[in-house]
């Protein structure tokens, strides 16, 4: 096939992105969990026939954008494309090939052109519940963490696999909502399939390869040029974090040479018999997100950008655990990856990096029975402040590196038996420096029902977010139950009247004050 000219390429690419954006709108409006529709904890991606990412919805979160193409590739390995038919829909939530934990269900639909697979429409979304322990870090193995769906076919010829659906419904606490969210995703991949086939019709394309190759080659060349602009060398950074009984060590070496970046996490703590392990797919997603944000933010995400990036995390470490490690709280671990890379590249790119954010996402899951006898399961998100940059203070209370909004107080109080006493900034929590870190927030939540299970995902309670170039660390966070510090690595039981204080950490400062 002849190479596409730069005008046609732009036209087709624009249309493919709008197809994926259309699908994202459909998910937001049809999904049931507050995760998808209020917190945007989902993504839509289009890949070529090889499972290489071509387009993703504007505004989706970095981790999913990074992992979803890998999910498609793993699915192709498990289910030969030759056995696929038009209209098929596939499903999985395997953490190693998915997003790193069971709660995200991925849906994939092959897009056919003239009898063969031309590409894949893929979505992933955090369902309200997947069974198992409620996202507890106490799980020692994956088997404790919920219902596991290996790569499987969900639909053929418009007929859904009722056995799979019945098993799924039986194993989760919120069968209607979880199934509803699966249907929201099925609608989205079907929409992408339709729009992409129309695009191929409009531009008389017999597949997506020509477009994909052009996008990848051009993106790769530009990314190599940007990497070549970073001073060659080996840049290292080591950081300690809260860990479990003992702190964790995170280590990275970023080697810049010949227009390529080699990122190596050797020296990072070994995997743990707790749900804090971050699968390699997630580690990789956070790594490429960081390098792209630093070096080539203006080009839409695609596989070509990542070809010049090589990543190694030692097998058996918390950044590359072996099956069947428990992985439920992988975000808190994986969200340190950008901080490590910023720290390593600070000397090389002082004007581009930022000090550490206080905001690996904080989460509180609660589940139980409300005073009226209805069972409930809710998840609340909390964000800390971001780190300061060379010429800018950190931002207060904002999701970073993820992009998950907090649930509105009025919605939280309506959907769960809680009364929120305050939600306010912690003005002094940003790290001091020439530029200050962003502030965290403090929220006090009173439980209005007895015997409520509460599980937390927290970080930076022992170690605040470090500053850069002499900037101070951000204030550490805290979780208190009726004023007493709680062990957030263990499930807690809340009684009626228990007050939970959640104070998120501030970001690190930049430069001496």
């Amino acid at each position: 096939m002849p190479r596409l000219d730069p005008v046609t390429l732009e036209l087709v690419w624009t249309r493919l992105v709008s197809a994926v954006d259309e699908a994202a709108k459909a998910i937001v409006r049809t999904s049931f969990s507050t995760l998808s529709n209020e917190a945007n904890d989902f993504a839509c991606v289009l890949t070529d026939a090889e499972g290489r990412s071509l387009a993703q919805n504007t505004g989706s979160i970095p981790s999913f954008i990074g992992t979803l193409p890998g999910t498609v590739r793993a699915l192709r390995d498990a289910i030969p494309p030759a056995s696929m038919q038009p209209g098929d829909v596939y499903i999985t939530n395997n953490p190693w090939i998915g997003t790193g934990h069971l709660n995200d269900i991925s849906i994939v639909r092959p897009i056919f052109r003239e009898g063969r697979v031309a590409g894949y429409a893929a979505t992933t979304s955090h369902v309200p519940d997947i069974g198992g322990r409620i996202r507890s870090t106490e799980a020692r193995e994956l088997f404790e963490e919920g219902f596991h769906i290996p790569p499987m076919r969900l639909m053929r010829d418009g007929v859904v696999d009722q056995t799979l659906l019945t098993l799924l419904r039986t194993n989760v606490r919120t069968p209607d909502q979880t199934e509803g969210d699966v249907w929201a995703q099925v609608g989205a991949v079907s929409l992408i399939d339709d729009r992409v086939r129309r695009t191929m019709d409009s531009y008389r394309l017999d597949g997506l390869e020509a477009v994909a190759d052009e996008i990848f080659d051009r993106s790769e060349a530009e990314m190599r040029r940007r990497i070549a602009g970073v001073p060659d060398g080996c840049w290292r950074y080591v950081m300690q974090t809260d860990g479990l009984d003992a702190p964790f060590t995170f280590a990275v070496e970023v080697r810049i040479a010949g227009g390529e970046a080699h990122v190596d996490f050797t020296g990072t703590s070994p995997q743990q018999p707790r749900a804090v392990n971050c699968v390699f797919a997630y580690t990789r997603a956070m790594t490429v997100f960081t390098l792209k944000a630093l070096l080539l933010p203006e080009v839409p995400n695609n596989e070509g950008i990542f070809r010049a990036i090589h990543i190694h995390a030692p097998e058996g470490s918390i950044l590359n655990p072996r099956w069947p490690a428990a992985v439920g709280g992988r975000a808190a671990t994986g969200h340190y990856v950008p901080v490590l890379i910023f720290g390593a590249l600070a000397e090389a790119l002082p004007d581009k990096v930022r000090a550490a954010p206080g905001s690996p996402l904080w989460i509180m899951n609660i589940a139980g029975t409300d005073p009226a006898g209805r069972s409930f399961a809710n998840v609340f998100f909390f964000n800390g402040g971001t780190g300061a940059g060379a010429a800018q203070d950190g931002v207060d209370c904002i999701s970073w590196p993820s992009n998950i909004s907090a649930t509105p107080i009025e919605v939280a109080e309506r959907t769960a038996p809680v009364l929120i006493h305050h939600k306010r900034l912690r003005p002094e929590s940003g790290g001091a420096g020439h530029q200050r870190g962003g502030a965290g927030q403090e929220t006090v939540i009173e439980c209005e029902s007895d015997d409520v299970a509460a599980v937390f995902v927290t970080e930076r309670i022992r170690f605040g977010a470090p500053g850069l170039f002499g900037g101070g660390a951000g204030a550490p966070g805290a979780v208190l139950l009726d004023g007493v510090p709680a062990d957030t690595r263990r499930q807690q039981t809340l009684a009626k009247g228990t007050r939970v204080t959640i104070a998120t950490p501030g970001g690190g400062g930049f430069g001496g004050s």
Binding site: D5, P6, V7, E10, L11, W13, T14, R15, S18, E22, K25, V28, R29, T30, S31, F32, S33, N37, E38, G59, D176, Q177, E179, G180, W183, G187, L191, I215, R218, E222, F289, K292, A293, L296, P297, E298, V299, V353, F381, N383, G389, Q392, V395, D396, C397, I398, S399, N403, S405, A406, P408, E410, E413, R414, L419, H421, H422, K423, R424, L425
Partner: protein, 692 residues
């Protein structure tokens, strides 16, 4: 002397458009006056005097005045509103600053979030608390309210917003606080969240109430002054204001809740599209306005512009959703895109062709303006493609440097390593694709398909691009009304009086009492009717719409459903499920439904706002001016195309495309094979040939 004329005034950033319209004869006269930003009323009054003088209309003949303005939006963007304070529930003064905790751009490491309109020291807390069902958990401390308000007044605060948690469910604490504060500080302007935006979700509700407080003192002074000036000029007609929802209201309501006026100018543009669409007998219209910097799209169904129940003001980045201040006010739904005649075409980082959102604006402008612009713009490409006539730009009033446009396009072509002709057609194609993409997403969001719509082109550049955009969308019919430049002002004159009211109703469907819902609608209608009547509208011909925001329990966003009358559980469920299926294709199995809010929409025609428009009297000159080659993508290149003088088209004119119609403000370009007809109101309609 009969006061038959209506006067329309639209204050924009550069020009104040003024239209005098006689509904009896259909005659309309248009005048453009430079906007006087330091005192906008001055430019308005000068323009009115010139327009009336030029056409021999006496002030006493003006029966009513309709006004749209971007002043309040600009006050938000430029942060030039009142010194505003906030009183809120103890523990929650930072809600306004913390916002959604979400980035509007993922990869921008140096992202800036919008600053709150009220700084932290002026956000004060008082003891009070309601539960989510509106019951009182902690009684209001009235003395604390008065004390905090006093402290704010002492610091120079002029306007106050009161926002309590769950006030959408029960306004009692907000009202009690307001009464006590008003008694003590009668000159302090007070805005309540339960009054301005009684909807669940504390951040957008607070943002809306605060924005109202922020622009309210400005609106009181400005509207009072304009009203006085109009009276002093001897104009007997009363002043009406265009609302963001596409309806009219009277001055007192505008002063109470000026946040309703933020999008009044663009709403008027959408109304014009709706009005011309009705004239052309079209049920569904995609109103497409494209100027120098931006393009705006609005969907019009059944003659009514679609209304969204919220929008964003004062965005950090104009075209990025999530970067502005949320405003929960009924607003004609507009999609704004960084695509206009001045949009600059460049080689992207990946050596593809990018067009916009950067614009050369009016200064330096496109390369062909010869004002120093050297980069190729959309207008330069349009010129190179034969769509525009260098000798008849703005009716020949503006000299155009065609070689400069060609040179600019040539430089870009060399940078991209393509032929100049491909660069020129590519610029047009890419900017059309960008606009079509935005339209596609917006139409899909509503479960519609583009080919159900006709494209209505207004503004300087839309008639040039409408044909290409329609082809990309699969739209079969393109309409170009006359007098493209003054469309929005005309739309305003045709607007009905309209009031939208909302009441929160968080209730499972199974527990809903239809009689109680009917009572709520009746209460909302009783609130709305006097406001509509006060505009002079004809309540006997009112159009009352009962709507409900509903969803499946657990979902986070709602579907707005027209309620069947009379209400019955079966009919309501059927209406919801039908609307849900229309939007999303299927209903989920076994899920329960809930109400979230009830909405009342009341509109009634205003006397003088009907009748036909007579702008396009045939000039009697030569209809066919000549012909020139024009590029059409479907023909794969340039095609010899007849050029018509639009003012000289006789009644009943019909032709086959390709064709170009020139008028002073714009050029309507129609592709090969189109069937073209001139409608009695002066609109040109072009239908696609069957084969494309």
């Amino acid at each position: 002397m009969a006061a038959t004329y209506s006067l329309g005034i639209d204050i924009g950033g550069t020009f104040t458009d003024i239209v005098a319209f006689d509904p009896l004869s259909g005659r309309a006269f248009i005048w453009k006056e430079s906007t006087t930003p330091d005192d906008p009323a001055r430019g308005v009054m000068a323009g009115i005097a010139r327009l009336l003088g030029a056409h021999g209309i006496a002030p006493a003949q003006i029966g009513r005045v309709v006004h749209a303005t971007t002043l309040f939006t600009n006050a938000l963007i430029e942060r030039k509103g009142a010194r505003t304070g906030l009183i809120t529930t103890a523990g929650f003064r930072d809600v306004l600053e913390i916002g959604r905790e979400r980035k509007y751009e993922l990869y921008d490491i140096f992202i800036e979030m919008p600053r709150p309109l009220v700084p932290r020291p002026w956000r004060r807390e008082v003891p009070e608390r309601l539960a989510s069902d509106g019951t009182i958990v902690t009684p209001l401390d009235v003395a604390a309210c008065v004390a905090e308000a006093g402290a704010l007044v002492a610091e120079g605060v002029e306007s106050l917003a009161i926002v309590f948690l769950h006030a959408y469910a029960n306004p009692v604490h907000e009202r009690t606080a307001a009464e006590a504060i008003a008694a003590r500080f009668p000159s302090l302007s007070i805005s309540l969240s339960s009054d301005i935006a009684p909807e669940i979700r504390e951040y957008p509700r607070a943002s809306t109430a605060v924005a109202n407080a922020y622009v309210r003192p400005l609106s009181e002074i400005y509207l009072q002054r304009l009203e006085q000036e109009i009276a002093a000029a001897g104009i007997p007609g009363s002043l009406h204001l265009m609302l963001s929802n596409g309806g009219l209201t009277h001055v007192d309501e505008a002063k109470r809740a000026p946040v309703q006026l933020l999008e009044s100018g663009p709403a008027a543009g959408a109304l014009a599209g709706a009005w011309f669409g009705r004239n052309a007998g079209l049920e569904r219209v995609l109103a497409f306005d494209m100027g120098g910097t931006t393009a705006k799209l609005a969907l019009v169904d059944d003659g009514q512009p679609l209304v969204a129940w919220g929008f964003e003001a004062a965005r950090e980045r104009r075209f990025l959703r999530g970067s502005g201040l949320p405003i929960q006010i009924a607003t004609v739904e507009l999609i704004e895109i960084g695509a206009g005649g001045g949009s600059i075409a460049r080689r992207s980082e990946l050596s593809t062709l990018h067009v916009g959102p950067d614009s050369a604006g009016a200064q330096p402008g496109p390369a062909c303006y010869a004002r120093g612009g050297t980069e190729a713009t959309v207008t330069d490409a349009d010129l190179a493609l034969g769509c525009l006539n260098a000798d008849f730009f703005l009716g020949g009033a503006m000299a155009i440097d065609a070689p400069a446009a060609e040179a600019a396009v040539g430089r870009l072509a060399a940078a991209l390593a393509v032929e100049p002709a491909r660069a020129a057609s590519g610029i047009q194609d890419v900017v059309n694709e960008t606009m079509a993409g935005a339209a596609r997403v917006a139409i899909a969001e509503r479960g519609r398909v583009p080919h159900e719509y006709a494209l209505m082109a207004t503004g300087g550049a839309a008639p040039v691009h409408a044909w290409g955009v329609a082809r990309k969308l699969g739209i079969r019919r393109v309409v170009c009304p006359p007098g493209a430049g003054a469309g929005s002002t005309i739309g305003m004159l045709m607007a009905p009086a309209r009031v939208d009211r909302v009441a929160s109703l968080n209730l499972p469907f199974a527990e809903a009492d239809m009689a109680a819902i009917e009572e709520t609608f009746a209460r909302l209608e009783n609130e709305a009717a006097p406001l509509v009547a006060a505009t002079g509208a004809d309540l006997a011909r009112r159009d009352t719409r009962w709507l409900a925001d509903m969803r499946y329990i657990g979902q986070g966003s709602e579907v707005t459903v027209a309620m069947p009358r009379p209400l019955s559980p079966e009919a309501v469920r059927a209406a919801f499920e039908a609307e849900y299926r229309r939007l999303f294709g299927r209903t989920p199995p076994g899920a329960a439904i809930q109400f979230v809010a009830l909405r009342l929409s009341l509109s009634a025609p205003v006397p003088g706002a009907e009748g036909r428009l007579d702008l396009a009297a045939a000039s009697g000159g030569t209809m066919l001016k000549g012909s020139r080659p024009v590029h059409f993508a479907e023909a794969g290149g340039m095609v010899g195309t007849p050029v018509y003088d639009r003012y000289a088209l006789p009644p009943g004119f019909a032709a086959e495309g390709p064709a170009v119609f020139e008028e002073n403000e714009s050029t309507f370009v129609v592709g090969p094979g189109a069937r073209i007809a001139l409608l009695p109101d002066g609109s040109l309609v072009a239908d696609m040939p069957e084969a494309t």
